[in-house]
């Protein structure tokens, strides 16, 4: 995409956002809405700036928990997917368990986990992992099973080992599926980390939102929320970037 086309395409969305913010700012002043109910964007920005150094620490904690949960969901999810695809017996044994972990609302597990594992970052990482690993397992398994049977016949007719076929055919074939799951997982990890912080913690952006609202500091809660969504967007973008680097063949023709 050329820079010029990018600029043209960005005009309308940017104008919409700027317009909405201006309207919001004006409305709070004209209608005299109390700051604790709906703070104007300028107040949110000012409060965020005020908190910039303290935010660094809290953002780091949430980022750390999110990335920990995401990494764990891949380290556990991908091998699980491989087991499920290669062994029908394990598939029958594991699938119900995996679905079971998904059927329990994570927000309900979080207090129990914190009770068992205590405070600190580990239980939040585990909550983030529990929320995030499901799409990794399901999508990777789907991808591994999506190899055309002809290719498997072809590998077999060349007497290639199962390991070689896995490395050279099935795994790369599953890559786009894996990344689809990973993109969902990274955004879910952010949610998991915040849920963990809500249940019990003394640091992280989730904690800031919770304590800010209990002190009627709505503008602080808003700036935390903005930081959280920026973090989620950046992380999503990072996974997409890795996908482009790992799977360059997925770019539409003529766009490399």
């Amino acid at each position: 995409m050329t820079l010029r086309r990018l600029a043209t395409e960005a005009t309308v969305p940017t104008a919409t956002v700027v317009g909405a913010l201006a309207l919001w700012e004006a409305a709070t002043h004209v209608l005299g809405i109390p700051r604790f109910i709906m703070p104007p964007p300028s107040a949110i920005l000012a409060e965020g700036w005020e908190w910039r150094y303290r935010f660094l620490g809290h953002t780091w904690v949430t980022l750390y928990e999110t990335l920990g949960g995401f990494a764990l969901s891949i380290v556990v999810g991908v091998p699980l997917a491989v087991l499920i695809v290669y062994s029908p017996a394990l598939r029958r044994a594991l699938y119900p368990l995996i679905v079971l972990t998904q059927s329990v609302p994570k927000i309900a597990i979080a207090p129990v986990l914190l009770l068992v594992l205590g405070h600190g970052e580990i239980p939040k990482i585990i909550v983030a992992f529990l929320v995030a690993f499901f799409p990794v397992v399901v999508d990777t398994a789907t991808g591994l099973a999506a190899t055309p049977p002809e290719l498997l016949d072809l590998s077999r007719s060349y007497r290639a080992s199962a390991f070689k076929t896995f490395m050279k055919v099935r795994l790369p074939m599953a890559m786009p599926f894996f990344f689809a799951g990973a993109k969902v997982a990274i955004t879910l990890s952010v949610i998991g980390a915040v849920v963990g912080e809500f249940v019990g913690s003394d640091q992280g952006l989730g904690y800031v939102i919770l304590s800010a609202t209990s002190y009627w500091k709505t503008e602080l809660a808003f700036s935390s929320m903005i930081l959280l969504s920026v973090m989620a967007i950046v992380l999503f973008g990072a996974v997409s970037l890795v996908e482009r680097l790992v799977c360059p063949w997925l770019l539409p023709a003529g766009e490399e």
Binding site: P148, E150, L151, D153, L154, S155, R156, S157, Y158, R159, A160, K164, T165, K168, V169, P172, M173, M175, C247, W249, A253
Partner: protein, 255 residues
């Protein structure tokens, strides 16, 4: 080269039904012979190819390739399917090299030959392209190059032009004959198309469905190199009438 003796293949579907895919097939294919298998869907043509390649065991009967019984896949075979099934993450050249790589050979030593094959099939200059940048016919040419690169003496083709449009299909048939002229091999070629079966083959094996049996083997008495014009030859017409009669005989359908 290939000898099938009273080969039978039955298998169970997932629902537990017993399917007689191939029944009592006895057939001999000579060295460097081009044999086409023609018949309606479900007459076990594809199963027969898998049996010859050793990808699936025969329920009864024996299969020999070069006097050795076929019990498992053997490396002297090239496979081309209806779909090109290329690896989308590999360039055209690396897709061609896939076969030697899977055979455990050093792909670097085959780069030149792979390039020559691409040149031979009119794909010179496309080495670095991804498969998605190629048309269906070009992709199938890459699949043929991939099968040819290790220089197998036996080429098994399962409706390789079945997914192509009629014009590309004709073009590819003649191209295959040209390649076969340069690099002689034994070819077993499955097709739905009667004209294609006759145009290509030394002998046409006509099969009838459920269970798959050989109805008749017809020697094609046409000169080589073959051209499209041969389709107007009375001998071509006679052969295709014979095939059509055999295929539709059991159905009571008008031809």
């Amino acid at each position: 080269m290939i000898r099938l003796d009273h080969v039978e293949k039955t298998y169970r579907t997932r629902r537990g039904d017993l399917v007689h895919a191939v029944e009592d097939v006895t057939l001999e294919v000579g060295e460097n012979e081009f044999v086409t298998l023609v018949g309606a869907s479900g007459c076990g043509k594809s199963t027969l190819l898998k049996l010859v390649a050793g990808l699936t065991p025969a329920t009864r009967g024996t299969i020999h390739v070069r006097d050795a019984p076929v019990q498992e896949p053997f490396p002297d075979v090239g496979f081309v399917f209806q779909q090109p099934v290329l690896l989308p993450w590999r360039s055209v050249l690396d897709n061609v090299l896939f076969s030697v790589e899977m055979l455990g050979l050093d792909p670097r030593q085959y780069r030149k030959q792979a390039g020559d094959l691409l040149e031979l099939t009119g794909l010179g200059g496309f080495e670095t392209k991804y498969p998605r940048e190629l048309s269906g016919g070009m992709q199938q040419r890459v699949a043929i190059c991939r099968a040819l690169l290790p220089d197998p003496s036996l080429l098994l083709m399962d409706e390789p032009f079945g997914a192509l449009d009629a014009m590309t299909r004709e073009e590819m048939s003649l191209e295959l004959l040209r390649i076969w002229d340069e690099r002689r091999k034994t070819i077993l070629f499955v097709t739905h198309s009667i004209p294609e079966a006759i145009l290509l083959a030394d002998r046409v094996v006509v099969m009838t469905p459920r269970p798959g049996r050989v109805a008749r083997v017809i020697a094609v008495d046409l000169p080589r190199p073959r051209t499209i014009e041969l389709e107007y030859d009375p001998r071509f017409k006679a052969a295709s009438d014979e095939v059509r009669d055999l295929i539709f005989a059991g159905r009571g359908a008008p031809r």
